[in-house]
């Protein structure tokens, strides 16, 4: 059973200016002691509180949408869930295999062939070579790239690279899937196929957390939503409620956004921007 529990989680980033980051300055500071102290006080490292007091409890079957302005802490929260950022305080307990798919092309190498990149992407997703070999045919067939898979992917078009990344990334079903702005995939003819696969893929995942600016995408995919503001959870509840409140609060700006999002998101299966 997959589950995610966050208790009073806070994350803060110290902002190091270039001068702050150098060892010389630190040494000089301590060497000259009291003299510069007045200066160092005013030069205190400022801290950005990216997340404050986040409580969250997700169980199997939950589809959570994260909405909010840029810099509201959505991505930071996803990274905390993925175990990339460990919080300064609070408790995180995540049960189940987790795959963050922030960039489905992460780790792809332009000089390597399609097949090599399938292996590479698979390793990134936590598969072993043996497991990848077992899936190779299925993945290769799905991409419809045929002999192109023997060429370096720098010869591919952007859409072809996307197909490849999409095919591999959706070949492993994790317990918990973390998405930033959904998953994009290739051209129109490929889309039907991709949509079916993505539907099948997302249905098998126990918990999905999706951060998006497209309200329609969140509506289609999620049964719960969190509205983030200034690193805090401003509202948490059923998707409709939260989105209505969000749209009401930010008026026309967000209506436009959601229209835009409607074009970006491919309705139904929840494929995000391309």
């Amino acid at each position: 059973m997959a589950s995610i529990q966050l208790e009073k989680v806070s994350v803060s980033f110290p902002v190091y200016s270039a001068s702050n980051r150098s060892l010389k300055n630190r040494l000089i500071q301590s060497a000259t002691g009291g003299q510069i102290r007045a200066d160092t006080v005013s030069q205190r490292i400022s801290v950005v509180e990216a997340l404050q007091d986040i409580d969250l409890d997700l169980r199997s079957g939950d589809r959570l949408g994260l909405v909010g302005h840029n810099g509201a802490g959505k991505t930071t929260l996803l990274r905390v869930l993925g175990g990339i950022y460990e919080p300064n305080c609070g408790r995180v307990s995540v049960e189940g295999s987790t795959v963050p798919l922030f960039d489905i092309a992460l780790g792809m190498d332009q000089e390597s062939t399609g097949y090599e990149n399938i292996v590479l992407r698979g390793l990134f997703l936590g598969l072993t070579r043996r497991q990848i070999k077992a899936r190779m045919d299925e993945i290769a067939e799905f991409t419809e790239l045929g002999d192109f898979l023997n060429l370096p992917i720098r010869t591919y078009s952007a859409g072809m690279q996307m197909r490849l990344a999409f095919a591999v990334s959706t070949s492993v079903v994790p317990d918990i899937l973390l998405l930033d702005e959904g998953i994009g995939a290739g051209d129109a003819a490929f889309l039907d196929k991709a949509r079916a696969r993505l539907k099948h893929f997302t249905e098998q995942v126990s918990i999905i957390v999706l951060s998006s600016h497209s309200n329609d995408l969140v509506r289609n995919m999620c049964n719960k939503a969190v509205l983030m503001e200034h690193g805090r959870i401003a509202q948490y509840g059923p998707t409709e409620e939260v989105l209505d409140a969000y749209e009401a609060k930010h008026g026309t700006y967000n209506k436009d956004r959601s229209k835009l999002g409607g074009d970006e998101a491919i309705a139904g299966a929840g494929i995000g921007r391309l």
Binding site: V48, I84, Y85, L106
Partner: protein, 284 residues
């Protein structure tokens, strides 16, 4: 997102330290290092790919590593052989062995500093143990070493060096070197991620050590084996590999020194790695 100054008078580094220095953080650090080893297929592939990318579409590919090392050894060997009035038959194999090992040791350190900094994009997107980047840096240096070592064997065969059973000592010596390389990567990688001057400092220190370590000159050339030698960690590291390559077992003191460096280094590294490992993703 709100911005606040750090109140309370305590530096954030100290606060982080206190947060990190707990029993469970130590367990996490160990788990991170173990988990990194478990992902070896990933970092081995990444290391290979890095090297391949460096030499992509060149005719000879990674053999340029071998060739440039060969040219270097030849040029230095002929020049310094003359300067030091050495018998070329002994001197060139000595230089080739020393140079190849020096290459391994020094790049393990300088690349180790960059281990986390260079992988910032991946660290922020991939939920893998961060130690994989240290392993990766060590592995790519071992691959390069595997290319370079042929220069030594070429020179050794040409000048008829006595390659005997002592050569087997090279294997355990490399294991000990790599074990040292790993703590060096973790420790200096961590330190460099926070303080960006560290790689530059380390770089110039390593450069100085190249000249005060007997790589191009023999230890015997130094009158009454000064303290300069015994206190030089690089000397011991080079010697445990070089001596068996030249047909002699290394002195026990060199082995003890390198093992001691490893034990102390690992202790310090585990301490800092427990305390600050969780901050790496924030620093890079």
């Amino acid at each position: 997102m709100s911005t606040t100054a750090n109140h309370g008078g305590e530096s954030p580094l100290l606060l982080q330290f206190r947060h990190g220095l707990r029993r469970d953080q130590f367990d996490n650090a160990i788990r991170d290092i173990r988990g990194g080893w478990a992902r070896r297929e990933l970092w081995m592939t990444l290391a290979f790919q890095d090297i391949r990318r460096r030499y992509r579409r060149s005719k000879l590919g990674p053999f340029w590593i071998t060739i440039s090392m060969g040219i270097m050894v030849m040029a230095l060997g002929l020049l310094y052989g003359q300067i030091f009035r050495q018998n070329i038959h002994d001197y060139l194999p000595f230089l080739a062995a020393g140079f190849v090992i020096w290459g391994l040791v020094s790049t393990m350190i300088t690349d180790g500093c960059q281990a986390f900094i260079d992988s910032d994009g991946m660290i922020r997107q991939l939920n893998a143990p961060v130690s994989i980047y240290a392993y990766k840096s060590i592995w790519s240096n071992l691959i390069i070493f595997a290319h370079n070592i042929w220069i030594f064997f070429g020179v050794a065969l040409w000048f008829g060096v006595d390659l005997n059973w002592n050569l087997l000592w090279v294997a355990p010596a490399l294991v000990v070197l790599v074990a040292n390389g790993l703590w060096i990567s973790l420790f200096f990688g961590l330190l460099s991620a926070r303080f960006r001057d560290v790689p530059l400092i380390i770089g110039s220190v390593v450069q100085v050590f190249f000249f005060i370590t007997p790589v191009i000159w023999r230890p015997e050339m130094l009158p009454d084996r000064a303290l300069l030698l015994d206190l030089n960690p690089f000397y011991h590291m080079v010697e445990i590999v070089r001596a068996p390559m030249l047909g002699q077992p290394a002195n026990l003191e060199h082995w003890l020194a390198v093992i001691a460096i490893g034990v102390v280094g690992w202790a310090v590294t585990l301490f800092f790695y427990s305390a600050y490992r969780w901050r790496i993703a924030y620093w890079v």
